[in-house]
Amino acid sequence: MSIPMSERTDRFQGYEGKSKEALEKHGIGVWSEVEIINDAGSSFVGVVLPRSETYDDLHIVVKLFNGYNIGIAASRIVSARETGYRKAVYKIPEKDFPYDPKNKNVTLLGTGGTIASRLDYRTGAVIPAFTPGELYGAVPELADIANLNTRKLFGVFSENMGPEQYKVLAVEIGKEIEKGVDGIVIGHGTDVMHHSGAILSFMVQDSPVPIVLVGSQRSSDRPSSDAALNLRNAVRTAAYSDIAEVLLCMFGPTSDTYDLLHRGTRCRKMHSSYRSTFRTIGATPLAAVHVDKNEKGSYFEYITDDFLRRDKSRKPIINNAFEEMVTIQYYYPNFKPDIIDSLSDLGYRGLVIAGTGLGHVNKPLYPALRRAIEKGMTVVMTVQTIWGYAQMYVYDTGRDLLNMGIIPLDNMLPETAYMKLCWVLGQTDDPETIRRMMLKSINHEITPREPHNGYLILQGGLPEVDEFVCRHLK
């Protein structure tokens, strides 16, 4: 059904300058099915698509009916005519998720990542699949695992996750637990998933059920995406695993084989793009999740038994305090003291330092740090090597820093330390209480012991390592 040109509100969506003039001049617009002829006599038949804001204003994008997209220089268009008009309506046909009363109930909270999607091949748009019906259409195996209920809390890109979202998430998790779900899955972008894993570990304690963060490294519209496997394993974890903690569920190896369940406080994204980017630091993951049962009849392979067990009778503690005036500073040679002074002047209450070695910064910073601490800033130390302990009593440098009141955070990860400091400073400003809370481990964010297999960065190129890698699926 065609709409008159004058009534189309998105006729020039994304088009400016010369390209917009060309659309006007030739009486076509976005979603017009067109035949365009250029000055070489070439004919292009397809649909005019919206233009991305980051591209220039000199070209018009057409999706040809053979499937390809091309950009036509506006200045080269000799004639154009509209042969039809079909506005893209991004709606996936609803299919009912088959509920089975015998199945466990899992709620999926959406924050913005696209864990499942469909494609509008006509325009090339990726449409998020989110409602239970849509998810069932995209990943039908879910129906065999659990009954799924979905709620979209917000739709933000990873980089826009922040205190607002954490506070809402914590409260909503609390509500779901009250409703009596068997487990909660949170769809999340991967860039800052470990930050959310950390803060939620503090904001939601003593959960009776698993809370599983899940995402995908390769967008879910791709045939090769890790999304479907991650989602299936996350839902299974939420429904059936015994681990009642905040977990991250992402690929173990980069092969399509199994997922690992990482504790939210000790997990970090370690590669910008590998599927296997998430790793537990300084400890081992809690379990592996498979799509098939093992000989003992379980989908889970527990790697440790040191975790909080599922218990429906337990009441969670929801505390979504968050102080925003906190920063992380990554020490580097030539780090000038004026940065510390500025932070202090600006009113920052907390400073996490990712120090070198065992937790060090250089001497010129000492006076500035002292000043900041005296003015009430809490300064904590972590290690920028990521693995290992801040052991500041070993060298004079460290001892000096300890004496001025810097709190050493042992083997707490810098990002986890940041989240915990924000959470603690959101509840108190008493230095004694702050110190006590930071040092008392709530959920393994500080561990007393690092096992020898907590740091296993194998060096590629060594014969024995390459031989080992060659023998196993990557």
Binding site: K63, I70, I72, P93, R122, S224, T254, C470
Partner: protein
């Protein structure tokens, strides 16, 4: 024996999709070396592919087919030629601009209109040949043509894309690929469906190859150029024959495909005559017949071990239809077999048995009777047997039904694999355009007019232009084509331009003698254009005779540190003026005057000329010697 076919009568029509690897240092979307093939690996990854639903809630037919196969896909990695991009663990890097430049040159050779802003799209492939599950591809030019048999063969578009993995093995539910070739830049040239006979198909493929080679910037060698050929007959549908490596194979392949299509249209009529005129009227029943069938007797060597079952599949009203001819020497049973092999992953022979053509053994008639009875088969029905795990047998039964459904319509749109011997077999359902969507990982590339003009200036001579020019020198066409294909034409042109040598001489020396030298094991390819110019300079300066060219060149090839002059000296070639060597020939003539008197002229002339030429090798041109000897003998006799 080739069956005859009137191509015009059956409405044969064909078009090409020619894939050509470009000669770049690096791959298209990453910085790995291109063209580096390895046979070992130092890492393995396992992946699965899932199709993505369209917004209509439907799967693309090919994607659905691939998903049904539930294949485990194993990729073999060698760090020399793949990085994390090929593993699909890193997004693409910015597109290789060299590849775009070469593509532009190729497009200008075919009179094409270069696209103003090139957008990269994703073309989904779920067979595992690309780890991401899609190929990155972009149209670079449209609306071109090439001169073909006095008319214009349309070139619809040229796209630039990344090459896929090489298949290592495909057994049951596991397929293994090698990743070395993945990511190599390719152009795909799509012609209009304007070729009227198999012979024209072959000629068009040859022409496309010549055009590509003329640029001097494409990869050569086995697999560097591959063709997909689309064939259809009137009343039928487009079928794509994939991966034809040589022009010569295309004649038989397209001819046999036309025959297959004509036969399938006849089969459709037979089906209609029996009331099987639409998919709704195709009825299939299947049953597990493992307890009444003998695995060994039927030839199912894989036997009753493990979970293998024998399933009987009954199609109502289909008696004897399986024997209906399709390709020469093949029947409709082969059509069923192809589908079952690919989709149900039952690939051990025999893949399918037809109730009427069971192997002969003692209890066979009884088994047949019990089979048909258990399936409730009437006289007009046909029964098929398949063997394998139960789920695969059920998939096979469904594929048999689907293929019969397709047969009621005529010719299914398929991609078929070229086999040696000129036949084809089912590879996959032909994908529709509904499996392409934009690649948002990369920004579009604007092609500026200045860039196009720069390419146009650097454009090397086109094949038809060289054919005309070399033809005017009386160079045989086959030699001209050889020179274009192997890059010798560049050298010939340079020699003619720089040394003034006769074009025919240059073309014969480079286009024919060089071939012979290569066969004799001389590393003549070591000579670059500069060196050849040195050699021909000696010739045009009169310092070496025509025969000396190949000798000097061969010497320079085996001793690369020698200049042309040094090589000539080493071979003892040093043309001298006639006054210097005449006297040497006189001696020979004097000594043979008696023989002249006896009248044995012709032979004598040849004898003396031969001796003189051998004696004077390198010092005098053979034709001059022959002339001199003849003159002197004539004078002597007079």
């Amino acid at each position: 024996m080739i069956e005859r076919l009137d191509y015009e009568e059956v409405g044969f029509i064909s078009g090409l999709e020619v894939h050509q690897q470009l000669l770049t240092a690096e791959k298209l979307f990453c910085r790995c070396p291109a063209g580096l093939y390895t046979t070992t690996h130092d890492g393995e990854i396992l992946r699965h592919m899932r199709p993505t639903l369209s917004e209509l809630g439907e799967y693309d037919g090919t994607a659905l087919m691939e998903f049904k196969t539930k294949k485990e896909i194993l990729y073999l990695l060698n760090r020399l030629n793949v990085c994390t991009y090929e593993m699909d663990d890193t997004p693409p890097f910015l597109v290789n601009q060299d590849a775009i430049d070469i593509a532009i040159e190729l497009c200008l050779s075919m009179n094409m209109d270069i696209i103003d802003e090139v957008h990269i799209a994703r073309k989904q492939y779920l067979d595992g040949s690309i780890p991401t599950g899609f190929q990155r591809t972009a149209i670079v030019a449209v609306n071109g043509w090439m001169p073909f048999k006095g008319r214009r063969l349309t070139v619809t578009h040229v796209s630039i894309e990344e090459d896929s993995c090489r298949e290592v093995s495909d057994k049951g539910h596991r397929i293994v690929f090698r990743t070395d070739r993945l990511g190599t830049p390719l152009t795909e040239t799509v012609t209009g469906a304007e070729l009227r006979t198999p012979q024209e198909v072959r000629e068009a493929i040859t022409l496309c190859g010549l055009i590509a080679r003329s640029t001097g910037r494409v990869r050569t060698g086995l697999g560097a150029a591959r063709q997909d050929i689309n064939v259809s007959v009137r009343g039928g549908r487009r079928v794509e024959i994939k991966g034809v490596p040589r022009a010569a194979y295309s004649v038989k392949l397209t001819h046999n495909e036309a025959i297959r299509q004509v036969n399938l249209l006849k089969l459709r009529d037979v089906l209609r005559g029996r009331g099987l005129d639409s998919p709704e009227n195709v009825h299939m029943h299947s049953k597990d017949l493992s307890d009444i069938c003998s695995f060994e007797a039927l030839g199912f060597g894989r036997g009753a071990t493990g979970d293998n079952r024998i399933y009987g599949v009954r199609i109502e009203g289909a008696r004897e239809l399986a024997q209906h001819p399709t390709q020469p020497g093949k029947s409709f049973l082969d059509e069923l077999s192809g589908r079952i092999r690919v989709i149900a992953c039952l690939d051990e022979s025999p893949i399918i048995l037809c109730g009427d053509t069971l192997p002969d053994f003692q209890d066979m008639p009884e088994m047949q009777r019990r089979m048909r009875e258990k399936l409730g088969a009437k006289d007009r029905d046909d029964v098929f047997l398949v063997c394998g795990p139960q789920t695969d047998c059920l998939t096979a039964a469904e594929e048999i039904r689907l293929r019969f459904c397709d047969a009621t319509d005529g010719i299914p749109m398929e991609t078929r694999q070229a086999l040696s011997g000129g036949l084809t077999t089912f590879e996959r359902i032909l994908p529709g355009p509904d499996r392409m969507y934009p690649d948002t990982d990369l920004p579009p590339t604007q092609i500026m007019p200045e860039r196009i003009e720069e390419s146009r200036r650097q454009l090397r001579p086109l094949p038809w232009e060289r054919e005309k020019r070399y033809g005017s020198w009386r160079v045989p066409l086959e030699t001209t084509h050889f020179l274009i294909r192997r890059g010798g034409a560049e050298i010939v042109d340079a020699i003619v331009e720089k040394t003034g040598a006769d074009g025919l001489v240059a073309a014969i020396e480079i286009g024919q003698r060089v071939r012979a030298m290569k066969r004799a094991g001389i590393p003549i390819q070591r000579l670059d254009t500069e060196k050849w110019i040195e050699v021909f300079d000696l010739y045009t300066d009169g310092l070496i005779p025509r025969e000396g060219i190949r000798t000097v060149a061969a010497r320079m090839a085996t001793e690369p540190e020698l200049s042309a002059r040094q090589a000539a000296g080493a071979e003892g070639i040093n043309l001298q003026g006639a006054e210097k060597w005449n006297s040497e020939v006189e001696t020979l003539i004097d000594g043979a005057v008696d023989a002249v008197a006896s009248g044995a002229d012709g032979r004598l002339t040849r004898l003396i000329t031969g001796k003189a030429t051998a004696m004077l090798s390198g010092k005098a041109a053979a034709k001059d010697v022959a002339l001199y000897v003849r003159q002197r003998l004539l004078e002597g006799r007079a």
